[in-house]
C-alpha cells in the first residue's frame, strides 16, 4: 500500500504550532487541517471523488485550506491565481471543464466575468460548519499515491495553456528530497514568494507538513519595495527562501543591498533558486552581503514536479560565471538523449530527460502532447521519462550543465514563455499585419516587432487584457514590414539588422 497525501498531512493533525503566517494572521496545522476538513465535508455535496475542482483565489492561507479541502474531498485541485487576466482564466476553465469553481470574496467578480457556467462556490461559505470525518474517510479511502493531487496550467505554444497533471507520490517524493538538501528543521521559517498557483509554491505549502516548520506568505507589493521586504524577513525570522532566480534578481536590480548592515536579513540560512539561469553578478552580490548563507541552484520543469537536479554553490562566484545545474535529487534520474534516442556520452550535449517518481502523470486531456513528451525509459522500458526540451551536458567532474532550449520557449523572470504564443496573440490584434517576438537576454526584455497600422499602445493594452504581466512585451517596435525569406519564414538576419538600426 503506497503512501498517500492524507498520511502526509495527518502527521500534523494534532500540532497546534503555526503552519502559515499571512500578514497579521497566523494559522496552526491543526486549524488549517480542521478548516480543510470542513471545506471537504461541504464540497462533498457537489463533487464526485476523483474529479478536479478549480479554485480561483488570492494570496492568503484560506487558499491553502481550499486546496487541502479539495484533497480531503477525494478530488484534485486546479489552482488559478485571481490576478490572472479574465480571458486566460476562461481558457483554463474551458479546458478543465470542472463541475465547481471555488472563489474567495476578493475574486468573486472575476469568477463571474469569466463565462464559467458550472457551479460557483464561495470559499468563505465552504469554510463554515462542521467536519464530517466519516464522509472524508469514505471519500479518501480509494486514494493511492498515483492519484492526482493537482493540475497546474503553464504557457502553451498554441495559445492554449497546458495542464500538468501531477500525482500525490510525485509531490511527496520531491518534498522529501528537497528537505534533505535544504536540511529543514522544525524551527525554520520559509518565506514564500511564488504565487500559490505556481509550481514553486508546492515547497512553501508542503514542506511545513513534513518538517513542522512554518511558511510566511510575503506580501506581493513588498517585492517592488525591497526595504519593506527585508524588514518583513527580519521581523518574521525567515531562515529559508526558495525563490525564482528572477525574484532575487529583481531585488538586486532595485538595489536592495544598498542599505545599512543592520537592515540586511543576515539570519537567512539557505537561499534556493530556480526557474531561470542565475547571473553570476547577481549571486555574487548576495554572497557578499549574506556571507553566512548557503546558496543552492536548482533545475527542473513543472512536468518533473518542480525540480530534478541541484547544485550547492561552494565558492564565491565570478561575475560572468554560469552555475552548473548539478546532480539529481534523491529518487530522480537523468538521461541525456541524443536525437536518435540513444544515451549521450559524457561531454556530449543532448536533451535532458528526467526519470523517477517525480515524473508527472501527463498533460490534462492532451494524449498526443503527452505521448510526445513522456516516453518509455530506454534503460527500463516499464518506466517513463519526461523530455524537457532543454539541452544539457555533463562536465568532467560529473556535474550537469544547462545549455538552453531546443525550441522557441524562453524564460523571462522565471516564467516560461512560448514566443509562438506571443506572436499568435499579437497577430490577432486589429491593425497588426505581421510580427516577430524575441527575447533580449542581455536586458531581459520581451520584445515584439510588428508591421501594420496598430499603435504601440494598442498592442500593450491588448496584451494587458489577455496575459499576465510577465507575458506583455515591454519593448515594441513598429516596422514598415517584417522581412521574409523566400519560403515565407521571417528573415532573421535581415530583421536583426533592421532592429539594430532602430
Amino acid at each position: 500500500m503506497s503512501r498517500t497525501i492524507i498520511d502526509y498531512l495527518e502527521k500534523q493533525k494534532d500540532n497546534s504550532c503555526t503552519a502559515y503566517i499571512d500578514g497579521d494572521t497566523e494559522v496552526s496545522f491543526k486549524d488549517i487541517l480542521g478548516k480543510a476538513k470542513v471545506i471537504a465535508s461541504n464540497l462533498s455535496a457537489y463533487l464526485k471523488p476523483g474529479e478536479p475542482a478549480a479554485i480561483l483565489s488570492g494570496r492568503h492561507t484560506g487558499t491553502i485550506a481550499g486546496y487541502l479541502g479539495i484533497v480531503y474531498a477525494g478530488c484534485y485541485y486546479a489552482p488559478i491565481d485571481g490576478e490572472m487576466p479574465v480571458s486566460r482564466i476562461s481558457k483554463i476553465l474551458s479546458l478543465l471543464n470542472p463541475s465547481v469553481l471555488i472563489t474567495d470574496a476578493e475574486f468573486r467578480k472575476t469568477a463571474e466575468e469569466c463565462g464559467y457556467s458550472g457551479k460557483l462556490l464561495s470559499l468563505e461559505e465552504l469554510s463554515e460548519g462542521t467536519a464530517d470525518e466519516e464522509v472524508i474517510r469514505a471519500r479518501t479511502a480509494h486514494y493511492d499515491g498515483s492519484d492526482p493531487l493537482y493540475v497546474l496550467f503553464t504557457s502553451g505554444s498554441s495559445g492554449v495553456p497546458k495542464g500538468v497533471l501531477t500525482g500525490q507520490e510525485s509531490v511527496m517524493n520531491y518534498i522529501d528530497a528537497v528537505c534533505e538538501v535544504l536540511d529543514v528543521k522544525e524551527d525554520d521559517v520559509l518565506g514564500n514568494q511564488a504565487p500559490l498557483d505556481y509550481i514553486a509554491a508546492i515547497r512553501d505549502i508542503y514542506i511545513p507538513f513534513l518538517t513542522g516548520c512554518k511558511t510566511v506568505i510575503l506580501p506581493k507589493k513588498e517585492f517592488a519595495m525591497p526595504s519593506l521586504l527585508f524588514r518583513t524577513l527580519i521581523r518574521n525570522g525567515v531562515t529559508i527562501l526558495c525563490w525564482s532566480a528572477a525574484g532575487l534578481e529583481t531585488l538586486a536590480r532595485l538595489k536592495a543591498f544598498d542599505c545599512k548592515p543592520e537592515d540586511l536579513p543576515v539570519q537567512l540560512k539557505t537561499i534556493l533558486f530556480s526557474g531561470s539561469v542565475m547571473p553570476g553578478k547577481v549571486l555574487r552580490q548576495y554572497q557578499e552581503h549574506l556571507p553566512r548563507t548557503r546558496f543552492i541552484n536548482q533545475y527542473g520543469p513543472t512536468e518533473a514536479t518542480a525540480s530534478c537536479t541541484y547544485y550547492e554553490v561552494d565558492h564565491v562566484v565570478a561575475e560572468d560565471e554560469v552555475l552548473p545545474i548539478g546532480v539529481p535529487y534523491r529518487n530522480y534520474t537523468i538521461f541525456l538523449r541524443r536525437e536518435d534516442g540513444s544515451e549521450a556520452e559524457p561531454g556530449e550535449t543532448a536533451e535532458i530527460c528526467v526519470g523517477g517518481p517525480g515524473v508527472t502523470i501527463g498533460y490534462y486531456k492532451d494524449p498526443e502532447r503527452t505521448a510526445l513528451s513522456y516516453i518509455a525509459d530506454p534503460r527500463d522500458p516499464g518506466k517513463r521519462l519526461y523530455r524537457t526540451g532543454d539541452y544539457g551536458r555533463y562536465r568532467e567532474d560529473g556535474l550537469l550543465e544547462f545549455h538552453g532550449r531546443m525550441d522557441r520557449q524562453v524564460k523571462h523572470f522565471g516564467h516560461r514563455i512560448e514566443l509562438d504564443e506571443i506572436e499568435g496573440a499579437a497577430g490577432r490584434i486589429d491593425g497588426v499585419e505581421g510580427c516577430y517576438a524575441y527575447y533580449d537576454r542581455e536586458k531581459e526584455v520581451l520584445c515584439l516587432a510588428y508591421a501594420g497600422t496598430a499603435l504601440k499602445s494598442d498592442i500593450a493594452k491588448a496584451f494587458r487584457k489577455d496575459f499576465p504581466a510577465f507575458m506583455v512585451p515591454r519593448k515594441v517596435t513598429q516596422l514598415e514590414e517584417i522581412p521574409k525569406l523566400p519560403n515565407g519564414k521571417t528573415d532573421m538576419s535581415k530583421l536583426r539588422e533592421i532592429l539594430k538600426g532602430q
Binding site: 506581493k220 517585492f223 525591497p226 529583481t250 542599505c259 493594452k461
Partner: protein, 74 residues
C-alpha cells in the same frame, strides 16, 4: 507633470496615472514596473532612486513621484 505622465504612460499605457492614488497599495504596479520606472527616472531626470526612497508613499500616485523627483533633484 505632463512629462512625467508621458514617461509613465510609456511603461504602463493601460494605467490612469493622473487618477490613481494607490498604485503600490493596490498592487497596480509590480516589481517589473518599478525597475522600469526607476531606470526611466534616472534617464529622464537624472535622479537616482535609492532603496530608502522605494516606499509606497513615494510611488502611490504620479503627484507623489513628482514630489520625490523634485526632492532628489536638489
Amino acid at each position: 507633470m505632463e512629462e512625467l505622465l508621458k514617461v509613465l504612460g510609456e511603461i504602463r499605457p493601460d494605467v490612469d496615472f493622473a487618477g490613481e492614488t494607490a498604485l503600490i497599495d493596490d498592487q497596480i504596479l509590480d516589481s517589473f514596473d518599478m525597475i522600469a520606472i526607476v531606470s526611466a527616472f534616472d534617464e529622464h531626470y537624472g535622479v537616482t532612486v535609492k532603496p530608502a526612497d522605494l516606499v509606497p508613499e513615494n510611488f502611490n500616485s504620479a503627484e507623489a513621484m513628482l514630489a520625490m523627483i523634485n526632492r532628489l533633484k536638489k
